[in-house]
Amino acid sequence: MATILAIDDSVTIRQMVAHTLKSKGHTVIEAVDGLDGLAKAKAGAVNLILTDINMPNMDGIEMIKQVRALPAHKFTPILTLTTESTSDMKMKGKQAGATGWIVKPFNPEQLLATIDKVLR
């Protein structure tokens, strides 16, 4: 099972994501914004990062750039959680170094399916 870092300023989304992932036996580390996420990515081994884009203090784009620059996370899958169905935000995330995206709103099954995809 994987250790997954979930970063979102919305407590609702964080709780839902954490609950869904934990139900499959994953370990979940929660972070409330980009700054917090970056610190937690630096702190320990993480197999996958799920992150919101629009967040206070440090947004997801900047966080991804900085995480990707860390040697430990050179190849770590990073998925953006984005409500923007426009390709704009997805591509911004990708350019910053994200692996892919999950479009919000998503149901738990979609989330798990996508996660299995990158973890397998």
């Binding site: 300023d9 919305s10 407590v11 609702t12 989304i13 709780q15 839902m16 609950h19 869904t20 139900s23 629009n54 967040m55 206070p56 990707r68 050179k74 190849f75 770590t76 899958p77 990073i78 409500t83 169905s85 426009t86 591509m91 990708k94 170094g97 994200a98 692996t99 892919g100 995206w101 919000k104 709103p105 998503f106 149901n107 738990p108 099954e109 995809k117 990158v118 397998r120």
Partner: protein
């Protein structure tokens, strides 16, 4: 997976975000250049609500918020200017959103017409100048569908640097049908030039399986900018087609897919409805019941529980040692038991107090909504008023918080309507055009004070008295001797306001007398100070039944009392020479060019003591609402923090006493109430 357990979180979070949204919008000044941080905060608030609403299937909320968010996004990207119209519309939309959320939470009937109207106005504003409709995506091109595909997949060398793995994608392709993969090695460099992080391979993949081009493209969506991809259908030979079972034609496949999609959509809709229903039922119960508590408060409760467990183990130990046949042991057992039970009692009380303390909320819960009130009234009344908030973190009991909102709202409306002048009048009076309304909350003694100060025109003493005379509320005699304070207090009297004076702003059919009643119902007091032309200060004093305060221990006879330290000016020993006896006014202490009334506590409470003469005890000078009172006691001890327990809830209100507390040794001490003591003294003299 059941997500309904998070619905309560969603509504709590949405309420917070709505608040942030409103505050942000109120801070958005069309005259100033837009602050990117501010607009981002506002955008995020809408964004969070939209995201959560979508996750729980509250599509009405999500769609509505999407329109607000799009407008905000345009502002964020400098595609739209902040105009007063935009701010007003977004504020109205925020209200509408609040109603939508309430309706979703409580399953209430909703004024859909009003919501639809706001939604239309949002849409008009969105389309009006930029004719943007981000929801509208170009119609999907009809996708080719075939049984066999040829895929040429050439990843860019740095593809793995985004965490993508070409093998993962090839494995996913195998889910769509049988694959035959051929790796192309010709780009492999010499060993010396080889970089392990880069990809040098490309693949030629044959996929045999009925799927659409879109399905294949979907698998490559994350890497479409990180690879060269060529997908082409393999045209089957006529002979092969005849031999094989009929392959679905593209049209057929589309039809099937459509049907599938329709079913999926219908299923989802049902699911959504189910979720909405179950969510509503859940939140009905949760409504108004949940409360956010500071983690420190929870820690102290946990601490208390720890103490209780220790005490419990002491008691269990004692029980094990209990031996009723040994008279010697029995004696010491009794003592130990008593002390353990004392301890248990103390910890239980502490626990109770801390649990009650969880009900304390910062007054910002109430203050928060007044920003909007002031903003709305300014535009309605053509006035310019800035709202300043001080002491928003002052804590009050949840019940008080819930009940103080309406009286405060009324006082603010009243101040906006009658207190503040129009900008023209202010300029004429030599004041700045923009008035200042200050809301200030603070703890003092055992009380919470809330001040509402305006720098408006102030109250006109003579006008108030004349009106009260006209209405027969006071007699001509009283009118002559009336103090300023009493005259101002007239506005709080029943029957002072009349229907003709009620405007639709402050009126609403409720007079200031109702405000006074509401506050008195909370055991509070309203004090009014005013200066004509300078402004009015309305102070609400509320008792804080659950406070911990600094207390000065004093003794009279065998009893110990607590005096709030904040009320003490000083303590001194006096001689008879400093005391004057005045007919009708009792004893007065001549002290620092002032004459202070003396209250002998042992007389006031009917206690036995040896220290009856003033030179045998101590005088504690108290500050009582700006006046002084000298209280004569036997002696004073140390100071300590005491938890105020209400007497009223368990016994009854006692004159001169605000509550009781338990001292370190387990004994009970009454806490003196300076205001009430002063009243006792005044009454005893009369």
């Amino acid at each position: 997976m059941d997500m309904s357990q998070f619905i309560a979180t969603f509504f709590t979070e949405s309420a917070e975000k709505l608040n942030e949204l409103e505050h942000g919008l109120l801070d958005l000044d069309p005259r100033q250049p837009t602050d990117p941080d501010l607009i981002n905060t506002i955008f995020r608030a809408a964004h969070t609500i939209k995201g959560g609403a979508g996750s729980f299937g509250f599509m009405a909320v999500s769609d509505f918020t999407h329109k607000m968010e799009t407008l905000l996004d345009q502002v964020r990207n400098d595609e739209r200017e902040v105009t007063p119209e935009l701010v007003e519309l977004l504020l109205e939309a925020k209200d509408g959103l609040g109603e939508l959320l309430d309706a979703a939470q409580n399953d209430e009937a909703l004024d859909t017409e009003a919501i639809a109207l706001i939604e239309r106005r949002l849409a008009t504003m969105l389309n009006g100048d930029l004719s943007l409709n981000p929801e509208e995506t170009p119609p999907e091109p009809v996708e080719a569908s075939a049984a066999d595909w040829q895929i040429r997949f050439t990843p860019h060398p740095d593809m793995m640097h985004t965490g993508n793995d070409p093998l993962r994608i090839i494995k996913e392709l195998s889910d769509l049908g049988d694959v035959a993969v051929t790796a192309d090695l010709k780009m492999l460099p010499a060993w010396s030039d080889f970089c392990a992080d880069d990809i040098y391979l490309s693949w030629q993949i044959e996929l045999h399986g009925a799927c659409s081009q879109a399905q294949i493209e979907d698998l490559f969506a994350w890497v479409e900018d990180e690879c060269d991809l060529v997908i082409s259908a393999i045209t089957a030979s006529t002979a092969a087609a005849a031999a094989e079972p009929p392959t679905p034609t593209p049209a057929n496949t589309l039809l099937i897919t459509d049907k599938l999609q329709t079913e999926v959509i219908v299923e989802r809709r049902k699911e959504t409805e189910r979720r909405e229903k179950s969510g509503r039922r859940k939140s009905d119960k949760a409504e108004g019941v949940s409360i956010r508590v500071d983690i420190n408060k929870i820690d102290s409760v946990i601490n208390n529980v720890g103490e209780l467990i220790t005490t419990q183990s002491i008691l269990s130990n004692l029980c094990q040692q209990f031996d009723r046949d040994d008279p010697l042991l029995l004696q010491s057992f009794g003592d130990k038991l008593e002390s353990a039970v004392d301890q248990l009692e103390r910890h239980t009380r502490d626990l109770q107090e801390h649990v009650m303390g969880m009900r304390m909320l910062p007054i910002s819960f109430v203050f928060g909504r007044f920003g909007r009130t002031v903003h709305d009234l300014c535009s309605k009344l053509g006035k310019q008023v800035e709202l300043h908030l001080v002491g928003e973190h002052t804590e009050l009991d949840k019940t008080v918080i819930e009940q103080i909102g309406d009286p405060l709202m009324h006082l603010i409306r009243n101040s906006m309507d009658h207190g503040f002048e129009t900008p023209a009048q202010r300029t004429a009076a030599g004041k700045p055009e923009t008035g200042v309304l200050l809301l200030n909350a603070y703890h003092k003694g055992g009380n919470v004070f809330i001040e509402i100060c305006d720098d408006g025109r102030g109250l006109d003493r003579e006008l108030l008295i004349a009106k009260a005379l006209e209405k027969g509320l006071i007699s001509a005699e009283t009118a002559e001797t009336m103090s300023d304070q009493d005259a101002y207090q007239l506005i709080m009297q029943a029957g002072f306001s009349t229907a003709t004076e009620l405007s639709d702003v402050s009126g609403r059919g409720v007079g200031m007398d109702v405000v006074r009643q509401n506050i008195e119902a909370l055991n509070g007091v309203v004090l009014i100070r005013s200066e004509q032309g300078v402004g009015t200060n309305i102070t609400i004093r509320l008792p804080l039944t659950l406070a911990i305060m600094d207390g000065q221990l004093i003794s009279v006879g065998n009893d110990t009392f607590v005096v709030p330290v904040v009320s003490i000016v000083e303590s001194l020993q006096v001689s008879d020479a400093m005391v004057r006896k005045v007919a009708g006014s009792g004893e007065l202490l001549h002290y620092r060019q002032e004459y202070l009334p003396i209250l002998r506590l042992h007389r006031a409470f009917g206690l036995e003591t040896d220290a009856r003469e003033l030179d045998r005890g101590v005088v504690v000078v108290l500050d009582v609402d700006g006046k002084r009172l000298a209280v004569f006691v036997d002696s004073i001890f140390g100071q300590q923090q005491v938890a105020v327990k209400s007497l009223e809830s368990n016994f009854q209100r006692v004159q001169g006493v605000m509550g009781a507390t338990i001292l370190g040794d387990g004994s009970i001490a009454l806490i003196l109430d300076p205001t009430s003591l002063a009243q006792m003294n005044a009454i005893s003299i009369h």
